[in-house]
Every structure is written in C-alpha cells, then in structure tokens.
Symmetry: C2
Subunit: 350 residues, 2 copies
C-alpha cells in the first residue's frame, strides 16, 4: 500500500527517521556515559520501546500504570514510573505488575510513601522508590534537599520499600546539579546512598552532559520531533518523523482553506507557537483556527496555496499528544506504507 | 458501586442532569416550532442519541463518517453529516452507510458536489445535499447567496443528488436570516425549492427563535454543559452534567497542588478562559498548568485547598473534547455509579 492509498486524516510515522533519531541520541548518551531511559508517552508503542532498548536504553519511562501494562505486555522489563501512586486500586495494580518486571516509582510526600509502604509488604523484594525533587518547574517534587532527605529516610525505614535515588523533571543546568549534590551530602551524612539520579527533558537533551552528577536522562519527544523541538533548536524539520496526512475539504476564498482535521486530530496545544502545525509543502501557510473536526489554513500572503482535494502533511506542535488522539499510526518508508500499529495505551488515563 | 469506589481520573456523567438538559431544550424547540437536531460529537454515545430522539429530536448531527457508523449501529435512523465528503474511501463508505439510514450531507464547492455526483448514481434514491453557507465564522461555506444558488443548481442537475436546503454554523442572528432569505429568493427565481434550513450553536441556543427562516437548530454542548456554556450564560454550574473525578497526588507547597490528570485528561482548550477547568468544591482554585498527565492547581489566596489523596471534581472548559480523550464514561445518579458506557466513536477522525 502507498501513502496515496490511505484515507485521511492519518498519522504517518517514517520508520527510518525514527531509527535515526533513536540512534543519534543513544550515541550521544553512550559517548557521555549517560544512561538513556526514554519516555514512551510520546509513542505508546512497545515496538518503538523495544527499538529504543535494543539500541542501548537501560529501560523506559512511563507516566501511568496503563502505559506500564502496555510496555510489560510488549516485553519491556525495566520501567521507571516517576509518579505518585496513591489509592487502593493503583497500589493493587502496581503490586501485580511488579511480578512481571522491575518497576521503580517516584514520590514526593510522606502520604504517598506511607501508602506505598502499607501496600508493599514483601521485604525480600522491596519496591524501589526515588524521591522527586522540584528543581524549577514547580509541578511535583520536594522543594529542598532537607525535605528530600526526610523522605529518603522514611522510604529507608519502611520494610517493603527501598530508597532508589533522586528524580527531577526537567533537568535545569543551573539548579538541578546543586540540589542533587546537596541532597547527596545530606544522605551520606545519614548513611544513605543515592544509588541513582535521573533528569530529563527534550530542550536540554544535547546539553545533558553538562549537568554534573545526573546519571540518567529521560527524553520523549526526540523519537518523533515536532514544532517544539525544532523551535528549541534540538532538531530540524528533516528530523520530524511523525506527520499527519490531511485533505483540503473546502476553500471558500483564496485567503483560506480547510483541512479535514481539527483539535481532535492536531490537538490544541500551542506552547506559544503561532497556529497548530507546520506544513513543509506550504511553509507560509498558517493553521490558525481549529474547531473539533476542521482546521482553517490561512494562506493569505502566501505564494502558493493547496486546492480542494489536495493532501498535505502537517508537523504538529506537540507530537506526544497526537499519539493519544489517534487509534493507529501508519508506518511508512518513503511513499510505502509498510505497517499499521495500534496505539497501545491510548486513553490510559489511570 | 459508588463514586468513591472508582479509580481516577474518571469521567462522571450525571444522568438526571443529562435528562433535564435534553428535556429543557426540547421543550424550547417544541414551543417555538424549531426542529431539534443535536450534535452527537459532544457525547459520542448512541444511548444519549436515542434519549435525544425519544425526547423529540428529528434526528442527529455527526461530523465524521465514523460517528455516523456508531450512530447507525446504535439504532439512529436520520443523520445530518454537515461535512464535505471527498475521496474514494469516504464516498464508498457513505454509499454503504446510506443503505442503513437517511443520511444528508453538506457541501460548499463544485469539487465536492461533482465527487458526490459521480459516486451516487442511483437516481431512484438521490443523496440529499445541503449547501453550506458561511454566515460569519469564516470556516467552511460559500460566501454569497449567488454562490449558494450556483451550487444548488449543480446539485439539482446531478441525477444521484437532491438539493436539500441550506446549512450554516453557527447561526448569526444578524447575518444568517438575510443570507438564507436572499438565497431562497434566488432559488425560487430558478425554480428551486429550499426544502430545509439548518443553523446551530450553543451560545445562541435560547435565541434561536429570533432567527427568522431557520427551520432547524443543531446544538451539541447543551447535553452536558461546561465552562464555556456557563460563561456564555446559557447554563449554570448546576446544569453541568459531566465532571472529571481526579485525585490530588502531590502538594509540594501550600501554594499549589497537583491533580492526576493533565492535557490527556482535561484537554488544552482554553477559549479565552483562565485555566483548564472549574472545581465547584474549590471555586477559587485555578487549574493553570497542564502537562500531559499532571494538572497544577494553584490555591494561593484561596481560603481552602485540597489535601493529598483528596478527590475533586472538575468541570472542563470544553466538554466535547473530553469525550474524545476517554475510553469510557461512568453514568452516575447521586453518589451511585449505575453504569459504564464505552465511548463509541472516540478517535473516529476519518
């Protein structure tokens, strides 16, 4: 089957570009002695997780238990779930999933840690728990090295848990090394070893080696890339492996036309970018207005504009949310469609 | 099962509020002699479509062929698909689906109409085609009554098609009546009858009777309501039938806490609103920052703030995109969960 034979909208994944993106980052990590633990929220595909692990990743990162389940089903063994797991349902699921692979979690409160401790009672196989540290994002994470120490000590005291190190997101070159270093000192004074430190983030990826004392880097978007990674200067348009194929369904005036996808296809995320996607074939066109199933492409002032029935490819603003909107992706090589993969944990909000 | 027994995030639909919303709008339509054709993109559930039809709706509106399929599967017979259907795949599907119910489409170009005409060759059962008119939104639709006439004539000339009237979105009280009236005159002069006119939109819903010459009104959000319909003044918080149940998983400082859902749970749509949802129990809290699986709830300056492990309900900004993010909704009555319904055409982008 060829791309021309697909109905639209359709998500296309250029598998050769994916391999190149995976390889380039792994090479960088190998060169700098950084453990690579890619985040699968970007693709939600165990086929690509296996590609990442086979290239040299130490394991993967998931954000939800539903993603962990999908990755275990797909044969991935070592999973970091840097999320506060709370509540009887999730603790029970976590307990069951631990029989199938090595799962490490993160926590940033005594409440979370005590809940984990009460649920994990097997002292012979303690759950590895990292302490999440806020080094600038102001989302989750303890605010000071002293708080990190207190939680590390609490984890250490609970028989079913094992203190596994420090986690942050994203790595801040100016803040993270000092926060982790100070925490490491405090832990050492208390006889606790910080076995592992993990940071992450795509914009900082090619400078991860400058962050002293961070063993591991987690990055998600790099496998596909998007307008955000191009804007951040860590990728070029030619590195964008995922595109959305759409059809022009309306052209009421010469000033705009309408694509057959809107917020349910391209997502509303802007992150400060103008419009909702970039069309390599029409670089001046602006995908400005999305309703749910329509995308208004403004072409006023552009030299060229597409016609009704024409098919165009769109590079999305934020590729990680695209995988979550679509049920399947088409794996392509050049103009050939070589496979169709179902997105495995789409909608796994729990 | 009770709501307290559910894991989070979970979408809750209060079925009594749904019924009240459906009933109130139907009563208004009946009173004013307006045909009610609700848009199922909001719920994507044939159970609710049937409730709407049983209450008195003349049929439903869908935006994608995948939604049409789901509604036909659910026993809905009369469907308006106000979308330009282009390309061999979709024309073939449309042809097949027409054997199962009455499907009307809309078109705004000769290209679309000629494609429909070439695919629909059964002059004994012509496809009803409405002409989409742009009466202010500047999305799809012909720009002038003269263009509308030309397309109506083209539809009329093609043996497999039947000119079925005029369609716009949204109804503009100032622009739509004049546009439709002038088109009706032009059509009459050419011997063409405008059998039906259809407008739509939630903000204008309770003033639909002021728009002269529009037979039918399409409205989607009214069945659930959300922050947008409350802001528009067409519903109150007490009319919001869909809420998202979430858990506070982190509270790094007294200034903010973090919910276990982000853009993949609450959606990024803002439509000019501050933040990404409203918490009835914490009306001063601001759900300001969404990453994919985290929602930062700012509580600085609030009198009260939730604690870690606490479960809160969130009214989303735009409820129609919530149905598309989640695989199922929990049907509730008071604190009881009375059913679980799978969202039937989630991700039906084609």
């Amino acid at each position: 089957m060829r791309i021309d034979d697909l109905d639209t909208p359709a998500v296309l994944v250029d598998i050769d570009l994916v391999k190149a993106n995976v390889g380039r980052w792994q090479e960088y990590c190998d060169q700098h002695g950084i453990a690579n633990r890619p985040h699968i929220k970007t693709h939600k595909l165990s086929q690509l997780a296996r590609m990442q692990v086979e290239a040299g990743a130490v394991g993967v990162t998931c954000q939800k238990l539903g993603e962990v389940e999908a990755m275990l089903d797909g044969g991935i063994q070592d999973i970091l779930l840097p999320y506060n797991i709370l509540g009887a349902h999730k603790l029970e699921r976590l307990n069951a999933l631990r029989q199938r692979g090595v799962i490490t979690v993160a926590a940033d409160s005594a409440t979370t840690i005590e809940g984990l401790g009460a649920a994990m009672r097997d002292a012979g196989n303690p759950l590895p728990v990292m302490v999440e540290c806020d080094t600038g994002l102001h989302r989750c994470g303890v605010q000071t090295p002293e708080e990190a120490l207190a939680l590390a000590q609490l984890i250490d005291r609970l028989p079913g848990l094992r203190f596994a190190g420090l986690m942050t997101y994203p790595t801040s070159l100016s803040e993270t090394p000092a926060f982790f270093e100070r925490t490491r000192e405090l832990c050492a004074q208390s006889g606790l070893d910080v076995a592992r430190t993990t940071g992450g983030g795509t914009p900082v990826m090619w400078r991860a080696h400058e962050a002293q004392g961070i063993d591991e880097h987690r990055v998600g978007t790099y496998i596909y890339n998007d307008r955000m990674t191009v804007r951040a200067g860590v990728a070029s348009w030619d590195d964008c492996a995922l595109t959305i194929l759409a059809t022009v369904v309306s052209k009421p005036t010469e000033r705009w036309c309408v694509l057959d996808g809107g917020s349910k296809t391209f997502a509303m995320d802007t992150y400060g970018l103008e419009g909702h996607g970039y069309l390599p074939a029409y670089p001046e066109a602006r995908l400005t207005k999305l309703s749910e199933e329509h995308g208004v492409l403004e072409t006023e002032g552009s030299e060229r504009a597409p016609t009704i029935g024409e098919r165009v490819r769109v590079i999305p603003n934020h590729v990680c949310v695209i995988s979550n909107l679509h049920n399947q992706v088409y794996i392509v090589r050049g103009d050939e469609v070589v496979d169709v993969w179902q997105v495995q944990s789409r909608g796994a909000v729990q």
